[in-house]
């Protein structure tokens, strides 16, 4: 029941992302979706992912989308009277997709809450106080840094490449500005390159 309280706003706002008239609305609704998914993750007992995914999704991705939407004049290029014309054909295609999803799920209803997560706790039922149970973060770290360390480094390389790509994309002409070469400038000797002219006090020049 708590799940449905959290999940139905996520579905509704997911729909509103697609159908929002204002582009600003279509950026604000995914923020709601991300909040709801983090709530769902908390309900599943995964504390680490439930805290990480708002930080990443809302804090970085949604903020950058907001920047784009705010700074540029995005035309609201939708003619609203013609949308319902597509409804028969697209409705049939949508129903086919939806129907196929049930084949993939194989008659297994999406579970509401798993009862016991065996992977994260080393807890025996008798000695509950003595054995220390691992937190979610500890189990993830245990695997990530030992067995999958190469993947971890590769993902950091991916992020580095993304950073370089974003900088290269936006720096197309500002590198042609004449910049001072600092070392050359320091190597100029003041005695050789600057001529001191003394103007005689008589006013004739010299």
């Amino acid at each position: 029941m708590i799940l449905s309280v959290l999940s139905s706003p996520a579905l509704v706002s997911g729909l509103m992302v697609v159908r929002a008239k204002n582009p600003v609305h279509s950026v604000l609704f995914p923020i709601l979706v991300f909040c709801d998914t983090s709530g769902l993750l908390i309900l599943l007992g995964l504390d680490f992912s439930a805290m990480i995914s708002p930080v990443v999704h809302i804090g970085a991705i949604a903020v950058s989308f907001l920047f784009v939407v705010m700074m540029f004049n995005i035309q609201i290029a939708e003619i609203h009277e013609e949308v319902l014309r597509y409804l028969p054909v697209s409705g049939i295609i949508g129903l086919i997709f939806w129907w196929e999803m049930f084949f993939i799920l194989d008659n297994e209803t999406i579970p509401l809450l798993p009862t016991h997560r065996n992977t994260t706790s080393l807890r025996y039922t008798v000695y509950a106080g003595k054995v220390r149970s691992w937190t979610n973060l500890e189990t993830l770290g245990n695997l990530l840094y030992t067995y999958y360390s190469v993947w971890f480094l590769v993902s950091s390389l991916i992020l580095l490449v993304a950073m370089i790509g974003a900088i290269v994309l936006t720096m197309h002409r500002t590198t042609k500005v004449k910049r001072q070469d600092v070392f050359r400038r320091n190597a100029l000797d003041s005695r050789r390159n600057i001529m001191n002219r003394t103007i005689s006090p008589f006013g004739h020049g010299h």
Binding site: S53, A60, F72, I74, Y86, A162, G165
Partner: protein, 86 residues
């Protein structure tokens, strides 16, 4: 439930006339996929928490892809409004 979110994301991706909306729907799709991975990591017979870790990498990929997509779209929109260039 997350399957429906994924379907909505795909529907929005196909039928969005605004370029920014397509990127947003991409993020929605990726996020819902990630959720699916994390949700079903306990049910299926996966040893050693593989899906959780993979979900972390998917988060990193989604963030990187969002950054590059934003830069690209922003640059194209900027050229449309300011053709003089600064």
């Amino acid at each position: 439930f997350l399957v429906y979110l994924f379907l909505i994301g795909i529907y929005g991706l196909i039928t969005s006339r605004n370029t920014v909306k397509t990127l947003i729907c991409l993020e929605l799709i990726l996020n819902s996929n990630n959720e699916n991975l994390i949700t079903f990591s306990d049910l299926f017979d996966s040893c050693q928490l593989r899906r959780d870790i993979f979900a972390n990498f998917v988060i990193a990929l989604a963030a990187a892809e969002a950054a590059i997509g934003i830069g690209w779209i922003g640059k194209s929109l900027l050229i449309k409004t300011k053709p003089t260039g600064c």
